[in-house]
Amino acid sequence: MGTPLLSVRNLQTSFFTREGEVRSVDDVSFDLEAGQTLGIVGESGSGKSVTSLSIMRLIPTPPGRIKGGQVLFGGQDLLKLSDRQMRAIRGKRIAMIFQDPMSSLNPFLRIARQLTEISELHLGLDRRAARRRAIEMLELVGIPDAARRIDDYPHQFSGGMRQRVMIAMALSCDPQLLIADEPTTALDVTIQAQILELIKDLRERLGTAVILITHDLGVVAGMADRVAVMYAGKIVESAPTDSLFARPAHPYTQGLLRSMPDPLQEVAELYQIPGLPPDMTRLPPGCAFAPRCPHAAEPCSQPPETVAVGAAHRSACWLNVRSETRA
């Protein structure tokens, strides 16, 4: 295995609020190979979006701040770059699409302008070439009658179409990495499938690596090579997708999988993990999941170690430590 395309090492991002420091991302590490897809799964507030925004260095500062760690991309630590160097990477080598296509496009500018500005900036195209490129990209993401619709404004597009525009925009400069932050959450179910298919298809055609952030395990199952499960700012389990679904090791992952509806099995009531997501300003000293965990025991008051539970499969739970030592 060569050096990974992206290697996040001990990333720490905090928000400083009136209630105190919120460690939204607390010591997160993961690798991503070129052309691969990593799914990051977790509830709202688990730190998955903050992780992606930290990679792009788009954390609003203040109140947020990247406190430590490294984001190695193609051998460079992005956190050490100047603003100018970072701007040359944003949109060109790492692109991002966001959750809500309704608000992510500028309502005051034509689609054309929003698409051409990125290829003018990073590819040095002139207006006409940039426009040709933009129409090409719109056709690529399946906007019918692209040459005409390019002069429309965002409000003249449906939600699914707008997300297609966002994807076209993100892929304009052939980025090596695409970060998709809940790309389908705000869309109708039928549109969701289309957008996921589109991302899958383009990923294969263009060889782009993808970080797919979602709270929907079903989305990850069909898309990702690896999955990282986040809880309260930490990665609690990471594994190849098959392995995670077959042998979930962390009680939180087990709970998430149990709470997925299985269309083949009829159950009286869908399982839900007891309790509420933790208050990020007052996390317990040990395992953050312990208050909701059915297996919580005495060692859980200490921070759990992350241990290997299988090939490239790691989990941060005392349960796994015990089973490992027993084996």
């Binding site: 609003p60 701007r87 949109g91 966001f98 992510s104 309502p107 005051f108 500005e117 900036l121």
Partner: protein
């Protein structure tokens, strides 16, 4: 769009008629009459004057005569305060002065206010931001009858830089325009700041930054437009009152503008001038609000008028 403008202009006619009616009766309900001065005319003269201006007829008849003249001949009537002039003459003399003063004040307010608002928004919660907003609060809370004399004391009576009052060349314009613009500068600064702060937090600005655009491009191309909308909607009524004459500042600096004539006329119970000036201000208000709506549609493509 053209249809929309025409419809709005047609709708303005009944509104203006109502304005004229209400102001006509309001002035007439005030005690006193046009020819009751300290040095009273002999009763016979007053009677003749009343007859000349039709003031001896019953009120409703006067109203109908007046409305007829306004609607059919676009004639706002004679002035009882300035016996040799018509209301039209008075407006023709006062309105250009008021518009020059008000327009200068508005442009000053727009440039200074927006600049301060943008700087404050870009350096949100910094010393610059707090400083600019503190000055803005001061600007909103100091009444112009205090600010005017203060500026006169400093800039004319102490430093001898500018004439303290009266109307003539452009140097006479500076002090009253500054006095008048303070409130509007402060208000526009606050509107610009809050508008821009909100836009800078929005998702599409995050998208623009994720594209790798320079912060100046993000601001000028992506953020500024949306943040202008509150300033635009405030500008309509603000500009109408500024252009239509300002009573305090014109009085303070002895400027022969519409506001000055208005107050003179009101004191002298010159109902024709009072109603005429009210009509001018109402017309300005209606036209400028229409302009605001048109500018809105130019800025925001989501707004379409049919």
């Amino acid at each position: 769009m053209l249809k929309f403008v025409l419809r709005r202009l047609l709708l303005a006619i009944p509104v203006l008629l109502v304005v004229v009616t209400i102001s006509f009766f309001l002035v007439r309900l005030a005690p006193g009459g046009p020819f009751m001065e300290e040095r009273a005319y002999p009763p016979a003269v007053i009677e003749k004057l009343n007859a000349k201006y039709g003031l001896d007829k019953p009120l409703h008849e006067q109203y109908f005569n007046y409305m007829q003249r306004v609607i059919l001949h676009l004639d706002l009537g004679p002035s009882t305060r300035y016996l040799d002039r018509t209301v039209g003459d008075v407006i023709a003399q006062g309105l250009p002065n008021s518009m020059l003063l008000g327009g200068t004040a508005y442009l000053t307010a727009l440039v200074l206010g927006m600049a301060a608002g943008i700087i404050a928004a870009l350096r949100q919660n910094s010393g610059v931001d707090y400083g600019a907003m503190a000055v803005a609060v001061l600007g909103v809370s100091i009444p112009n009858f205090v600010l005017g004399p203060l500026l006169v004391i400093v800039l004319s009576l102490t430093l001898y830089w500018l004439p303290p009052a009266r109307w003539g060349d452009l140097s006479h314009l500076i002090l009253p325009a500054l006095t008048l613009s303070a409130l509007y500068t402060a208000y526009i600064a606050r509107l610009t700041r809050s508008g821009l702060v909100e836009v800078l937090r929005s998702d599409y600005i995050r998208t623009a930054r994720a594209k790798g655009l320079r912060e100046s491009v993000v601001l000028l191309r992506h953020a500024l437009r949306g943040s202008l909308l509150p300033v635009v909607s405030y500008s309509g009524p603000a500009l109408a009152f500024l252009l239509g004459g300002t009573i305090v500042v014109e009085k303070l600096f002895l400027i022969p503008g519409l506001g000055n004539f208005f107050i003179e006329a009101a004191n002298a119970r010159d109902s024709f001038i009072v109603v005429g000036v009210t009509l001018v201000v109402a017309t300005l208000l209606i036209v400028l609000n229409l302009v605001v709506d048109i500018v809105y549609a130019l800025i925001d493509p989501r707004i379409a008028y049919k």
